[in-house]
Every structure is written in structure tokens, then in C-alpha cells.
């Protein structure tokens, strides 16, 4: 364990990867002090932590907020501890230090407990359950099996599927440019005077959206014919900005 920690610190290298959170890092710094863990000295600890943090920030600006929060708390404690005691101040650096020590001790304790829990003999590794599944034939009564995990995950899945339902776009009767082009071409040779483009739009179009689509398609179709040199187009500013077309000779 000790070796692992030392290795962790050596490979620290301005990266916080090796640590599972800032308290974990503090704990490792405490262990590095090689003193009784119950006699944690906050001041040198704060200095080491801030030093590491300073280096790390230079390397990686996206430091986890949790590391910075502890950094701020330690800076605060440090400044309070170094300054002459302010009787007026409500904040007691001693209390903050104690709380921090408590947290470090607690994590230390649980890391030890984790080790002792996992060093116990374990089922399937150090001792075994019955290997062969027995199948008894007679008088089978089915018992349906579902556990809380399954129940909740099934429900969670339904809910998340609901949140991500697909958007379907309703079918609509839109007029295509191809259709407009075919229609317009039929009339082109007969347009010997300036005529409104609207005149060529088929009758009986219902609905605002449909009308807009027909008009746009006819406009695009007319541009296509201009490109081919078959018609000319102009906008009549006196007459509602009406678009007018004429056969190109």
C-alpha cells in the first residue's frame, strides 16, 4: 500500500489523475508527511496542496471544481492561521481545520475498511456455492422472477424513451418545382406580352402553405427558364411588386 502511494506521488507530474478527488489527494499528502495521521498539520498540508494545485493549473486549466474549492478553503484557513487572531471574526479557522481533519480521517478509515472487506474470502473466489443447477421435474410451480433493479430499470427505459420520442413531420401537399416547370413550359411560346406570373398558377389551390409552395415553385421554375434563355422576367414596382414574364426572342 505504502509503495503504491509513493508511486502515485512520483507519477503525479502535474496531473491529478491518480487521485480520486481532492480529499484523497490531501490524504496522500498527509501520508507523505509520515506522521501520525491523527496529528494532521493543516498548515504544511495546505502549502503542499496549493503548490501542487498551482503547478497543475498551469498544465490543465480545466481542473475539477472540487480541487479548487478545497484549494480555496485551504488558502482561507492558511491566511487565518497565519494572521494574528481576530477576536471579532465569526469564522474560526480552528473549526474549519478540525472539520477538514475529520474528513481526511474518515476517508482514511473507509479506505482501510475497503481493504479489509475485500481481503475477506469471497464467494466464487475463495469459497464456492453449488455448481450444478438442480432441475426438479415434478410438480413445478412457476414463480415469476423480477427484482427491484429490473422493475426500476424497465420503468426508467420507458420514461427515457418517452423523453426522446421521434419527431414525425406531417405529410403535406406541396407543389414541386418540377411540376411548375412542366406547366410553365407548356405556355412559354404563347407569352408574347408581359404577363403576371400569378396568371399561370393553377386554380383551386387551398391553404396558405400550399399557395406559398406553388408560388415559390413557379418562381424557381421561371428562373430556370431565364437561365435557359427562354423567357425574361421583371418586377412591376407600381403594381404590388408583381412579377411579370415574357417570351425571350
Amino acid at each position: 500500500m505504502e509503495k503504491e502511494i509513493e508511486k502515485g506521488l512520483l507519477t503525479f507530474n502535474l496531473s491529478l489523475d491518480g487521485f480520486d478527488g481532492p480529499i484523497d489527494m490531501l490524504l496522500n499528502l498527509v501520508r507523505e508527511q509520515k506522521i501520525d495521521i491523527t496529528k494532521i498539520q493543516i498548515l504544511p498540508l495546505a502549502e503542499q496542496y496549493l503548490l501542487y494545485l498551482k503547478k497543475a493549473i498551469k498544465e490543465d486549466i480545466d481542473l475539477a471544481a472540487e480541487y479548487l474549492v478545497i484549494g480555496a478553503v485551504l488558502t482561507h484557513i492558511k491566511s487565518k492561521l497565519l494572521l494574528p487572531k481576530d477576536e471579532q471574526s465569526e469564522e474560526d479557522p480552528e473549526i474549519l481545520s478540525e472539520l477538514l481533519k475529520f474528513q481526511i480521517l474518515k476517508l482514511e478509515k473507509f479506505q482501510k475498511l475497503t481493504k479489509s472487506l475485500f481481503s475477506r474470502p469471497q464467494l466464487g473466489k475463495n469459497f464456492y456455492s453449488r455448481g450444478i443447477q438442480t432441475i426438479l421435474k415434478k410438480n413445478i410451480k412457476y414463480k415469476y422472477e423480477i427484482n427491484l433493479y429490473k422493475l426500476t430499470s424497465v420503468y426508467a427505459e420507458i420514461q427515457s424513451n418517452k423523453e426522446n420520442t421521434k419527431l414525425t413531420i406531417a405529410h403535406s401537399n406541396l407543389y414541386t418545382v418540377e411540376q411548375a416547370l412542366v406547366n410553365l413550359k407548356k405556355h412559354v411560346s404563347n407569352i408574347k406580352e408581359w404577363e403576371s406570373l400569378l396568371l399561370f398558377i393553377p386554380r383551386g389551390i387551398k391553404g396558405y402553405l400550399e399557395y406559398k409552395s406553388v408560388f415559390s415553385s413557379y418562381f424557381v421554375a421561371s428562373l430556370e427558364l431565364i437561365k435557359e434563355g427562354r423567357i425574361k422576367i421583371k418586377q412591376d414596382f407600381k403594381n404590388n411588386n408583381n412579377l411579370q414574364i415574357i417570351k425571350n426572342n
Binding site: L136, Y142, E145, L151, A156, I158, S160
Partner: protein, 194 residues
């Protein structure tokens, strides 16, 4: 036989016992050389074990060149009476149960709306038969549709003391159960947490 080899024999018998017990399939005699390399002695050991368990509720049975523990025929019939076979609840039934649990009282049509698919006849019947759901009051809407509720047996089965102990959706999200969230729309904050 001296004392030393007696102890040795006893330990070997124990190892044999544990090994056969824990193995997933009947154990081939040839794979037991690590306990006793001498074939005659190994057979002797197996016979000893077989004799030891001959009048037990579990017997050592020989199957060709393999051996395995089986419940004795004498008592098997007496256990069978109570033997229950676990069968996973179907997907449709699991979903229906979950929806009833979280939305009760709820009608059949409302369940179908949530699942987006119609319920086959057997699903509610099955849950009712198992004893996990029961009919609740009828709704005061046209047709007076019947509602469904979960039962005490349901709470028992899932080890819940109260319906309010069902994990909430937020908690499910936090514990990672809502994994099927769309990647496109996920909150960038969540990505960092990973």
C-alpha cells in the same frame, strides 16, 4: 494405516467433497488426479465418499466416468411438492407492472398509452394471478373503466415498506439507470461527471 495417512485420507475426502459440490458439471474421474494420482486409491476414495453419503438427503451418483451430487430419490419427491421454478417475467409484464407501480391507479388504456402498444390479454391476468396487482376503483368517466393498483404482496416481493420507497425518476437518472438517453441532447454537464 498410520495416523498420518488417516488424516491425509480425511483431508482428501473433504477436498473431493468440496470439489464435486462446486463444479458446474459432473466431474470426470480423470480430472481428480490432483487429489489422488493413484487410480486405485482414487476409486477407493470415491467409494468412501459414496458410502458416506449413501443414507443422506444428497447422494453421490456415478454417471459413466463422472460423479456428481444429486438429491436422493427418497426425498426428492417430498421436496418437489414445494419446488418452485423461477421464470423471468416477460418484458411486457415487467413494463406493465412498473407502470402500474409508478402511476396507480391506472386503467388498461392509460397503460397502453404509456407503452405505445396494446396489452395482450394475458398480461394483466398474469400479474393479477401472481398477486402483484389488484383492481382498484372504477373511474367516473364514460365507460367507467377499471383501474389497477399494486398489492401488499408486491411490496413484499420487492422489499419495499411503502410505495413512496420506490426510487424516483430523478434518483434513477442519478444512479445511472437511465442510460438510453440520446447522446445528441445530453447535458454537457453530465459528460464531465463521467
Amino acid at each position: 494405516m498410520n495416523n498420518k495417512s488417516e488424516i491425509d485420507q480425511k483431508l482428501k475426502l473433504k477436498i473431493l467433497e468440496a470439489y464435486i459440490f462446486a463444479a458446474k458439471d459432473p466431474v470426470d474421474l480423470s480430472s481428480l488426479k490432483f487429489i489422488e494420482s493413484d487410480e486405485t486409491k482414487l476409486n477407493e476414495l470415491v467409494n468412501n465418499l459414496q458410502n458416506k453419503f449413501s443414507d443422506y438427503g444428497i447422494n453421490l451418483v456415478k454417471i459413466k466416468n463422472s460423479i456428481a451430487f444429486r438429491t436422493s430419490e427418497e426425498v426428492s419427491g417430498l421436496i418437489n411438492i414445494k419446488q418452485e421454478i423461477l421464470k423471468p417475467l416477460s418484458r411486457a409484464a415487467s413494463e406493465t407492472l412498473a407502470i402500474i407501480a409508478y402511476h396507480q391507479p391506472i386503467t388498461r388504456t392509460q397503460i397502453e398509452n404509456i407503452r405505445g402498444v396494446s396489452l395482450s390479454r394475458g398480461t394483466l391476468d398474469q400479474l393479477f394471478e401472481i398477486g402483484w396487482i389488484k383492481p382498484g376503483r372504477k373511474l367516473r368517466t364514460p365507460g367507467r373503466p377499471m383501474t389497477w393498483l399494486t398489492t401488499i404482496k408486491f411490496l413484499d416481493h420487492f422489499g419495499l415498506s411503502d410505495l413512496s420507497d420506490l426510487p424516483g425518476i430523478d434518483e434513477l437518472k442519478k444512479s445511472g439507470l437511465l442510460q438510453h438517453e440520446s447522446v445528441l441532447f445530453s447535458d454537457p454537464k453530465d459528460e464531465i461527471e463521467e
